[in-house]
Symmetry: C3
Subunit: 352 residues, 3 copies
């Protein structure tokens, strides 16, 4: 099962935030147990390759960039952005045809660097599509990165079952017990799983309250989360005090459009990336920073420590092998776990 | 063998000092590799259960108490003190008959919270009986807790062979080389092992010296340690300068009545609990605190570092498999190790 | 293969620098996974034995010296410098014939304490012979110790292929790209492997520059490294501006005679010892200290972090199993790896 370090390989994962990858810098991150070095070509195009020289296995990320090539820190072998050795300063300078560093397809889009680590050809049509993140005022979208010592599926569970917000989170994003009593709609379509909640609360959720016509007064709310394999979740949350609104969505409410995605570092550690676009108070850069910091802290201070200790309680056991006592709000995350396990099993059967 | 993480399960262990368990607080401690949450009901009765929610395995100890029930921090499921779910805030609130947290029998007695982690019915008649600890002035007894990174049997060895006091300990509790030359009496009876030493030293052992009629002058001493399974040791030490005393015991000497007990956290870490009652200078609360601090420090500063490194030297090897060269003073601890190994083997054979 | 914790056992390794072993002190160090305690007899002769009491396995190094014997900290058993118990303070004082601590042959020579940990008889004729280190002014030789978290063969590779100096090292010891273009001479003879480089650079290598007749002007350089099993490397480096010199060596150039040696602590950690004798500016004690500190720092700050991360990249894999893409400058270290692997295989076949 996927709990023990087997990953869906033929898929796009986020390797880094665009803002993490600066010019002239080698950036290293372990993804799906693979050490990867990332950098930008002079024209800005991102490049990813195995962070291990084929000569004596030194980490290339400790070396330096020269034009668009990486120079190994240890003996100066130079590799172009296709991973081909284009300079060997040693002896006659002969270059072995085996002097190749594996590279990985990367695409920069929607504020993220996406990477394909599988053996199959990278399929750009599988890249998650979130143009909303990059449409609108630049001060109305922000990004953050939060590493965590737990299995990535524990973070997916967390977002796919938002009933926990009633119980775990502090004043800023509490839903005041309004989600748990509901049985949310769960819709499975085209390999995605969506969970939608509708409720009323007073005062409105505090991240939106101040932008409603009557702060502090009752408001109708919705939140919808949609997972797609392997570990991407789009979440939209909105509130309205306009009784005439029939369809609550990002355009008809005071709302934000978020993107949560997890990339396993290892079986027990995860790179968690988060982006948030809002449709209100769009031009305030300082508010934008405060808001992303608040969302960052909610996970770091509230969900994170719980998930780390939950991981310790589970150890290396598979989730279902522990016989969880499931409740109504688990419908979404359990559906996701089963689909992901099937997808991984299929992929491994094909490789086998 | 017991060296490698197999424990005697059907027995009472100390889970905590009474003073560690305050009202309105969830207390977590791993005992015999089992994560346990402990708390007190409103009437003070201690409760112990597995520190893992049966829903998604969150640590209950990160949640909160409501009346006598525990509320899971993650999704708000509530469990009464029998471990039965008595509230599910989700959807229709249906409660699965499987929504049960294993609980463990606990008894509070003699200043300790005792726990029974075995599968067999808890047998209260097996609870160690030490009323002396709680008889007498409240300022003449004190308790402490000392965690340590070594196997619990190394601590039992340490107390069952007090000849090490001649060699390892500093001025405050040194026995000045008087124990080692002796072959102590070792008595096995009803599953217990007792070791008794009698000697004279000048000056008397410093923890008792000031309370003797003639401090600094020769005194007759005794110490007796009695082990009972799995890891409980009662130690009485006394000194007298009254030549007429025929039987040296707690009542006839300037003495203290101690209780040492170990609860394995894991195969290489131990919760070590200690209590000490004295029959002299009984009303001085400040002295009481200084005295327990001194005993605490003797173990923490002198025995502890040696036992941790000894553990590293032994690694995961069984004690007897390393062919120890035994000497006369080992009679007690070796007898204890053999009985305990037999008891564990018997228990496992019954389970098998 | 040797990558996974199998060592050449019947060989001399350095256990410590002479200067690390002071009088009246027990010194502990784990060598080839064996915990060893080292000390000096009253006459200065070094002694080495297993750092584990045969009684209850306490580390003898936590005890104390009495004349030339070691007293166990735990129960006071005393062992002479042949490892024989010569005092048991317990009971009748009987000493079991099994009360023996394994000892290891040690020889102090050339500023090092050498140890033989193998089962075969220690063969003094195999001891590396480096009288140059101890010939000449006392202020012209210095020693240092650098522990590192990598396999010892990675450090041997590092010294046996000095082309890395072109790429990795800072201004003080840079060879300015002059080594890499060359194919060095590699000579295998009598079980040793020598690599010799000859080149010209301007300015001369800075560690020698100031002692040449015309600092900053072109100079001919040489460096020669000679490995002998298991992990000893003698390195001589020199420069000259005297055109008439035909044979560049320690006597004909401004030069230093270094000795690098590695003793595995475990499969992934190494004790690295280094000594350096120079033939110039010999009487300046302060310069001597600055110079050894500079060499120490070059390894600690430049090679060391790279080797630690390289070790992480290799994990527990054998070097050759990872299919390194070898280049011309690898001839020396690869020859060394193959000879060492053969020697270890032979030894294990004999034991088998």
């Amino acid at each position: 099962m996927s709990q023990s370090g087997s990953y869906l390989m033929n898929a796009w994962y986020v390797a880094a935030l665009s803002q993490e990858l600066s010019a002239d810098t080698l950036f290293d991150r372990t993804l799906l147990d693979i050490p990867v070095v990332l950098y930008r070509r002079a024209d800005g195009t991102p490049i990813a390759m195995l962070d291990r020289c084929p000569h004596r296995f030194a980490p290339l990320s400790m070396g330096r960039l020269e034009q668009d090539s990486v120079i190994c820190p240890y003996h100066g072998l130079r590799f172009d952005c296709t991973g081909t050795c284009n300079h060997n300063p040693h002896g006659p300078g002969t270059i072995s045809p085996r002097a190749k560093v594996p590279t990985y397809p990367v695409i920069e889009r929607f504020g993220f660097i996406w990477i394909w680590l599988g053996d199959a050809d990278a399929d750009e049509s599988l890249l998650p599509h979130h143009p909303t993140l990059v449409s609108g005022h630049e001060h109305a979208v922000a990004y953050t990165y939060m590493p965590r010592d737990c299995h990535y599926e524990l973070i997916i569970d967390n977002v796919m079952d938002l009933s926990h917000v009633d119980h775990l989170h502090g004043e800023m994003i509490t839903t005041r017990g309004q989600l748990s009593p509901q049985i949310p709609d769960v819709i499975e379509a085209d390999g995605t799983v969506s969970v939608r909640w509708l409720w009323q609360q007073t005062p409105p959720i505090l991240i939106l309250n101040d932008f409603l016509p009557q702060p502090g007064e009752p408001a109708r709310h919705f939140v919808e989360v949609t997972w797609s394999a392997p570990s991407h979740i789009q979440l939209t949350i909105g509130a309205t005090q306009n009784g005439a609104v029939e369809t609550l969505n990002f355009d008809t409410t005071v709302a934000q459009y978020d993107f949560h995605t997890c990339t396993p570092e290892s079986a027990t550690s995860t790179h968690y990336f988060f982006a948030s676009r809002r449709n209100h108070h769009e031009e305030d850069a300082e508010f934008n920073q405060l808001k992303i910091q608040g969302m960052h802290n909610a996970f770091v201070d509230e969900d994170g420590p719980l998930l780390d200790r939950l991981q310790q309680r589970m150890g290396s056991a598979d989730f279902f092998s522990l016989n969880p006592v499931l409740i109504s709000s688990d419908a979404g995350p359990v559906r996701v776990r089963r689909i992901l396990a099937e997808r991984i099993a299929e992929e491994q059967a094909q490789d086998g």
